[in-house]
Amino acid sequence: MTPKNLTRLFCISFLLHLVAACGGPDADKSSADTENEVQPATANAKSSGNNAVTTGRPTAPISFRYEVQGTPIVGQPVSINVYVSSSEADAPITLYYRVNDATSMFFPESQALQAQFELDPGDEPQLQQVTVVPQREGRLYLNVSAEVETDRGIMLKTTSIPVQVGSAPPELETSGDLTETAEGEKVISMPASQSN
């Protein structure tokens, strides 16, 4: 059986169960290369129109895909190729790079935190290479923000690119306290400010 047919069977089972991910924005994408994680932007599966997952706002006319070069290792610089495409003609684009927690991952001094360029819809995606240095294992995130000048004004978009370092699970944040009620139900207790 060819890989193509494997893909089809996978999607067919989705269709039979009317599973929305097939064709939705969170759909199955191409398989990731263990060396170079390639993350194309759209669905690679056949879907019916029924039960499709849909995302919220119409976002800025720009899209990203990325490749993490090599295997990220704690303390070692790792390059991420960010490919940027636009559907807006002659659109000046400014990218900004950021990490939420510099103790987990930081930019080397040589890494510019901003890039500017122009793109046309028919252009090849603009390659921007970003280098980060992971400081711990886990799933870390490079935040990429884009500013696009359009006829309708400046439009913004922000997304996160995951960088998996080692096999450690992601460190999840908590809000409130996970607790159990007298009836055995787990709830997240969040504090109220109380006044009289």
């Binding site: 064709g23 932007a41 019916s48 997952v53 849909t54 899209s63 439009m155 109380q194």
Partner: protein, 690 residues
């Protein structure tokens, strides 16, 4: 014969009866003769728990088998603080209960003695427990959450202009601090008010569950949960958010406990638990439901969940894992009737973006109340979309605007180091980029302006929400065509609003042909500049007459990766079945298209040749499926054969109208060869199967 007078005869007769009676029974402590007396039985009544300083009835009674016996009663106090017994010689006596010390009940014991004429007696005791009266105190208050208003031009949130909004319709519980028992449970009102009565004993707290529950007509069941917590259990069982006030004992006085869920914004980011978030999400959904209830007061809302987490982020990573909060964006998943919303500090937060929340909730409305044939996928401002996607998304924005009575659809997120945002106006006076039936923003403006009472641009009137609701839950669910602005417009014009000129003006204002509009878009002239766009539906005969249909990806222009949900990537066909039987569908890439493909086909390259596919539907229901047995488990019409698709329907097709979604899968495929042409054409036939 001595004649006695009547009174004398009566006395004698009575004496004889008494004598006879006395002789007929020999038990008891009687006269020691041959006739024994039986002692009476006393009953002092049931034990009682009473309050102090109250008149307490002693409900005694006596019985005696010697029917002629006359019984006498005597109450006496056996123990406890001495009280005066009133009517102590009667079966029913009473006394005033004494004062007792706080939390120290006292037991008074009384004894009733019942005696008959022969002096035989019976006794019974009763315990009266006297306590202080039970305390009734009221704990009441207002439940609110902090809501930062959208900043000017939707550019982030204005925390300096934070308002307090009521937590409406939420489950409120009175909970014991020790042990956590729920003593009482109610639902907050539309002002966020609640009230409990309690005995004031023990330490209690007020708990507000992030849920909306109601049974009957109408009914609903909404819960806000954390998808990233306790991930070992199914999503529907992940922890529910609750808001807990501090525990204390109310003592002896009524008490006001106002609870506030705070956003915990410190000027640059969030600190603390961000308890306002789940309740803001809940309130947005509550607001959406109110719009539906305005048109259908008996609406039954099937259960749904909303998942929000501080870990939920906009992520490019795939496969995305909601257990760790990686989302493609805010979205609704109809397979589990759930919304997923972002909350990641520094990336994207949705909890205060009520337009975003109600937009996604509108997809729940589509799913549960209406019908949407949208194929989903990414959509950007100005995109020329598949008509089904455009209507699904556009209607969702409009419904959010109607529910929130707000014209600015705002979405806040981080841009670099700052909380910024974006949005657009729902009003028709603000021009849509690339207007038309394929543009979600055009759909927004048509639907929203049908509802709103503002006069602007082509918006000169209003039909209110009722006709819109009726169409979405009526004609839109039964249309043979795909759900689009065309099916909606035809139905809304047929709804008898008396405002068709107004409806036409709104459609024309967005470059949608209004005259003669029908569900098929038969009169549409706006082709978005592509020769492949019109007609919206092409009729295909079922007698083998070939039809040439072209699809293209010219509007799927963001990058090399096809997204597959743009205008012309899917072409719509109409097919009328007049005879119920099986039919054979045959699709072949035409000669011009084949000439564009590498020759010979590189069998190692899965994506260098065209891949025609076909879905066919009847009233919104896909018909490619066969569920009759293992021989037909796979949907038909979706093979991976290069340049061709040929299949015979699993089942005889019932007479009726069908629509076909025809597409070249290469335009949906993320890994299509970059050299693949942007336009492909196919010859299609439908013939009765032998």
């Amino acid at each position: 014969m001595i004649r006695m007078s009547r009174p004398f005869r009566s006395i004698i007769f009575s004496a004889m009866l008494v004598s006879l009676a006395a002789c007929s029974s020999g038990s008891g402590s009687g006269d020691g003769g041959g006739n024994r007396n039986i002692a009476p039985t006393a009953s002092a009544g049931d034990d009682q728990n009473v309050i102090e300083n109250a008149v307490i009835q002693l409900n005694g009674s006596g019985s005696d088998p010697d029917a002629a016996d006359r019984l006498t009663y005597s109450w006496a106090q056996v123990s406890g603080t001495a009280v005066t017994i009133n009517n102590a010689d009667m079966a029913q006596a009473d006394f005033v209960s004494p004062n007792v010390a706080a939390n120290t009940p006292e037991t008074l014991t009384f004894r009733l003695t019942v005696t008959d004429l022969a002096g035989s007696s019976g006794t019974d005791d009763v315990d009266i427990v006297v306590s202080e009266p039970a305390l009734v105190v009221t704990i009441s208050g207002i439940l609110q959450y902090e809501f930062p208003t959208p900043a000017s031009n939707c550019d982030g949130l204005n925390f300096d202009a934070t308002t307090l909004r009521p937590i409406r319709g939420a489950t409120v519980q009175l909970v014991e601090e020790n042990g956590g028992a729920v003593l009482a449970s109610i639902v907050s009102d539309n002002n966020g008010a609640y009230s409990f009565q309690t005995d004031g004993q023990g330490s209690v707290l007020i708990r507000v569950r992030a849920e909306l529950k109601r049974t009957g007509n109408p009914s609903w069941d909404v819960e806000v949960r954390d998808n990233t917590s306790d991930t070992g259990v199914p999503l529907a069982e992940r922890p529910l958010y609750v808001l807990d006030g501090p525990a204390s004992s109310p003592g002896g006085a009524d008490e006001v406990r106002n609870l506030l869920a705070t956003h915990d914004w410190n000027g640059n980011g969030f600190t603390g638990a961000r308890s306002a978030a789940p309740f803001s999400v809940l309130d947005a959904i509550y607001t959406g439901m109110q719009l539906i209830l305005s048109a259908d007061a008996q609406a039954i809302f099937p259960p749904m969940d909303a998942f929000w987490s501080v870990n939920n982020t906009q992520s490019e990573g795939v496969p995305r894992d909601v257990d760790i909060g990686e989302l493609s964006g805010a979205f609704y998943d109809p397979n589990i009737s759930s919304l997923f919303l972002r909350g990641k500090d520094g990336v994207d937060i949705d909890e205060f973006d009520h337009h975003v929340i109600v937009h996604e909730w509108s997809h729940y409305f589509d799913h549960r109340f209406s019908r949407s044939d949208s194929i989903g996928g990414t959509h950007r401002s100005g995109d020329r979309l598949d008509a089904r996607v455009a209507f699904g998304e556009g209607f969702a924005y409009a419904l959010a605007g109607m529910a929130l009575n707000s014209t600015a659809s705002c979405d806040s997120f981080w841009f670099n180091n700052t909380l910024r945002g974006g949005g657009f106006s729902l009003e028709s006076q603000d021009t849509s980029p690339n207007p038309g039936w394929y543009n979600e923003e055009s759909i927004v403006k048509v639907v929203y302006d049908l509802w709103d009472t503002n006069v602007d641009g082509t918006d000169s009137s209003s039909i209110g929400f009722g006709p819109i609701y009726d169409v979405m839950t009526g004609a839109q669910t039964t249309t043979e065509a795909f759900t689009s602005i065309f099916s909606f417009a035809e139905a809304i014009k047929a709804a008898g609003t008396g405002q068709n000129p107004f409806i036409d003006a709104l459609l024309e204002g967005e470059s949608i042909t209004a005259a003669g509009v029908d569900r098929w878009g038969s009169t549409e002239t706006n082709n978005a500049g592509s020769t492949d766009t019109l007609p919206v539906y092409t009729t295909i005969q079922t007698d083998g007459t070939p039809l040439n249909v072209c699809s293209n990806s010219e509007f799927d222009s963001v990058g090399p990766d096809n997204e597959g949900n743009k205008l012309n990537e899917h072409r719509y066909l109409r097919m009328t079945i007049n005879t119920q039987q099986r039919y054979t569908f045959d699709i072949q890439a035409d000669a011009a298209t084949l000439a564009l493909m590498p020759i010979p086909d590189d069998l190692a390259d899965e994506r260098d040749q065209s891949d025609p596919d076909m879905f066919y539907y009847r009233v919104g229901q896909i018909q490619n499926l066969c569920l009759d047995g293992p021989a037909c488990n796979d949907p038909e019409g979706l093979s991976g054969d290069a340049n061709v698709e040929n299949f015979t329907s699993f089942n005889p097709l019932p007479v009726g109208e069908y629509v076909i979604d025809f597409n070249d899968f290469r335009f949906n495929d993320t890994e299509t060869d970059p050299a693949y042409p942007t336009r492909t054409c196919f010859d299609i036939t439908v013939t009765p199967a032998p």
